[in-house]
Symmetry: C2
Subunit: 148 residues, 2 copies
Amino acid sequence: MFYTVGEMAKLVGVAPSTLRYYDKEGLLPFVERSKGGIRVFKESDYEWLKVIECLKKTGMQLKDIRTFIFMAMEGDSTIGKRLELITNQRKAVLRRIDELQETLATLDFKKWYYETAKAHGTTEVPKNMPYEELPEEFREIRKRLRGI
Amino acid sequence: MFYTVGEMAKLVGVAPSTLRYYDKEGLLPFVERSKGGIRVFKESDYEWLKVIECLKKTGMQLKDIRTFIFMAMEGDSTIGKRLELITNQRKAVLRRIDELQETLATLDFKKWYYETAKAHGTTEVPKNMPYEELPEEFREIRKRLRGI
DNA sequence: TATTGACTTAAAGTCGGGTTTAAGTTGTAC
DNA sequence: GTACAACTTAAACCCGACTTTAAGTCAATA
């Protein structure tokens, strides 16, 4: 079965202009053309687009996804490099999750801060609450955030 | 103690141009000027910049940070709105962490996939590995990823 | 007072990831 | 054979978050 750019865009849930843009950026070297120059997407191209979607979700940049696609098209000789790329991306995602966990702790504190402020009608209450009265989970974080 | 834009930039670890940009975008309504028009940062402004840094880490956009700053400067009457903003941002961070956990699972699978491919010299081995031989933690994910 | 380094502004440039526009072409249906 | 929707391209535009540039000003030191 074959698809036009508009049909395939619907299948993968992006705008046709996005697929044309990816093509222009060299991310779709596998897409063929009709005699008239119109893009003809095959079933297997859908799988490639899923690969792109997956790598994009990891936060990978288009130029790196392009590199990955070219390596994958080259075959087994590039397995080592592909593994390296995936490993690096995995590390980047782990780091990002860590950062966000830190950030979440800060937001939890701020949420408590404003809930307490709201209950008392003033930020003075959470701001000046003595260390002993402060919920335990916020004692450390308030030190870090002093004045914030 | 007072600081110029360059000094304060060093203190908070950003480029002076960044602070000027934030000022232009209205994020620094608290910064005063000398008679000659030069920005004069106070100690307390450092705390505001730390607030901005913190909110930025949560992924909040500059225009929303600006809104937050203005509300915070207005005083206790805006506590409810600030709580709402923080709560929404907290939810956004939770969603983002969830997405990244999903993504991490995919990358773990791909890592195993290429490690196995590397060990055998071909992607055919992990690609066609029978369900029974597949490590348990990857059985579900391979179904979702079939062909990827 | 003159120099010098750091400041000022507006405007333009950069980057990533697209979207929109304009002018023209393809392919299908009648 | 003509109409029409959907395709083609290059180029321009958009967004957020800056950075860079250019031309000019301030303020501390010699």
